[in-house]
Amino acid sequence: MADEDHEERRFTAIYDECRQRVWAYAVSRAGRQAADEVVSETFAIAWRRLADVPDPALPWLLGVARNVLRDGHRAEVRRESFAAELGRWTARPAGDIAEDVAERLAVIRAMAALPDGDREILILVAWQGLTPRDAARVVGCSPAALRVRLHRARRRLARAAEGTEAPGGRPAAETGQAGAGQLRTGQAVTRRQVATINEEMS
């Protein structure tokens, strides 16, 4: 009984610490329709495998959420949902907007045009605040590989942001399609890396 209480307390503490982060990750990867489901499934897995959950739990949980998303949600559906999110995030506020707001909108739009793998790393580092080491754990590559990929993603983001800073930006549908063509390469690279790294880690 005492052990069961301890497990419940530990699980609840992990949930309280990480739930919003897992949700935010899922929303920024696949939109909110999928997010609630992903959160639910991720924590159900965490409860079943509580003994395997490391401390800190967040990178592990995000890795699980990532697998749940990949297994349960087809890439094109994810992309459409994300495009819808993006449309909401970048809907222009009425009236004049400050320059820094315009800049932020531009960078979000720019992010949408990047390959999926780039976008994922940027989200983990900039929005989730993960260190390169923890981000590497989530996507299943070495920290060194992660740093290289982050560097490239950042460069592509900067370039894209300059390109979209013109008034109006790109319509969401177009950015969604642009991402679509590049996604496959991004994923293929990721899978190969996952296979290598999994060997390294086990």
């Binding site: 497990e7 949930y15 309280d16 919003q20 935010a24 909110r32 409860w47 079943r48 460069r155 942001a161």
Partner: protein, 388 residues
């Protein structure tokens, strides 16, 4: 340059993705319950007695059993309405009010006189409603979204819970809301914004269709009992056997229930006094749980003895049935919310309960006087007929 763009990206994170935004208390409870109910538990716990895990089923307020299918519907729980439990009826002056103690003791007498025989399933039919504000500025109006829930809870352990959920659609909450809705062009769907936590400015979108145009088929669900034998949440998960053997003496019943009080809200970790907690738990019990008549009577008597329980007057429930309301007021960050239960003194049964905003804080989206949500019991009885 690269660092700049990363910093801009960091600053551009949408506010709703901020990890410090609190999780809605109900969502938290449901997700925790669902996670812990979904599997056999941590690997290490499998060898221990599964039945002793204290898993909270999806609802704290006691109406439904631990039905996973209820989760989705429950996510849209939040806010408010004017159709609800607790519209004061015209023509009933203060002179006719019964005090809360009289109402509850009368209900107890009636409940005591009833008989019941356990059958295969405890069958409940309830209608829940939540009212939301739609639109902007002067064009704002309120719509009430309703759902019908039907549940068959097995009398014996190891059985299955059957559920049937019927979405009943949304409609303008009051005549004034209907006028505003017509001015807005009588839209057939409503884009609702549902706060992700109570009082939060951050919302999730939810699209509701106008009633009765939305003739969606009911969603049917079948699920095993939590832990194989837990049927309801009564301060903790309880089995049918535990429900049936609760004390019929109000003092002993109170002592039994208070054992599970841990100083906080039934729905969250927010501190909550013992009396209010007991009110929440016991009102759920008397309203729709399959306890024997003498236990239901003890529940009413126990409520009569709680401090803070007051009369809320003669009211009609959302189905138009008249009853006498008792209530407890809860001071929340959004204002004072009254948790009231409407009792039919003729039968000694609770007809409905609802949350009414009785004193909104300045700037609240929920006006004072609005019934934010309600739950009406249409049926709560034993039956032998299995669901189709």
């Amino acid at each position: 340059m690269n660092d700049d763009v990363l910093r801009t990206l960091r600053e551009a994170r949408p506010a709703e993705l901020d990890p410090d935004v609190p999780v809605d208390a109900r969502v938290r409870q449901m997700e925790l319950a669902r996670a812990m109910a979904a599997g056999p538990g941590p690997d290490g716990a499998r060898t221990r007695k599964a039945g002793r895990r204290r898993v909270r089923p999806v609802w704290g307020i006691g109406l439904s059993a631990a039905v996973a299918a209820g989760v989705l519907a429950a996510v849209i729980v939040v806010p408010s309405g004017d159709d609800g439990a607790g519209t004061p009826r015209a023509g009933h002056g203060a002179g006719q009010l019964l005090d809360a103690k009289t109402v509850l003791l009368t209900a107890a007498e009636k409940a005591d006189g009833r008989t019941d025989t356990m059958r295969a399933y405890w069958h409940t039919v309830t209608i829940s409603s939540h009212t939301h504000t739609v639109g902007q500025g002067d064009g704002r109006y309120s719509v009430t979204v309703r759902e019908r829930h039907e549940t068959w809870t097995p009398g014996d352990p190891g059985g299955k819970v059957y559920g049937r959920e019927q979405y009943l659609g949304a409609k303008p909450a009051t005549a004034a809301d209907e006028a505003a809705w017509r001015r807005a062009g009588s839209p057939g769907t409503f884009e609702l914004r549902i706060p992700i936590s109570p009082g939060s400015k951050i919302t999730k979108p939810y699209r509701a269709k106008l009633a009765p145009a939305s003739q969606q088929p009911p969603k049917v669900s079948v699920s095993p009992l939590v832990d194989g034998d837990k049927v309801f949440w009564l301060g903790r998960n309880v089995t049918m056997r535990q429900l049936r053997s609760l004390p019929s003496d109000p003092k002993r019943l109170k002592a039994e229930l208070i054992r599970w009080y841990e100083g906080h809200d039934t729905e969250s970790d927010r501190p909550m006094g013992a009396a209010e907690w007991l009110y929440r738990v016991a009102s759920g019990m008397v309203m729709s749980m399959p306890v024997p008549p003498e236990v239901r009577a003890a529940g009413f008597r126990m409520l009569a003895g709680l401090p803070g329980v007051r009369s809320a007057g003669r009211v009609t429930d959302p189905q138009g049935r008249a009853g006498d309301a008792i209530a407890v007021d809860d001071t929340t960050p959004g204002g004072v919310i009254r948790d009231q239960m409407i009792i039919d003194l003729a039968s000694g049964t609770a007809l409905a309960r609802g949350n009414v905003m009785v004193k909104a804080v300045a700037g609240s989206d929920v006006p004072t006087g609005r019934t934010m949500s309600s739950e009406v019991v249409l049926t709560a009885e034993w039956t032998d007929s299995a669901p189709r």
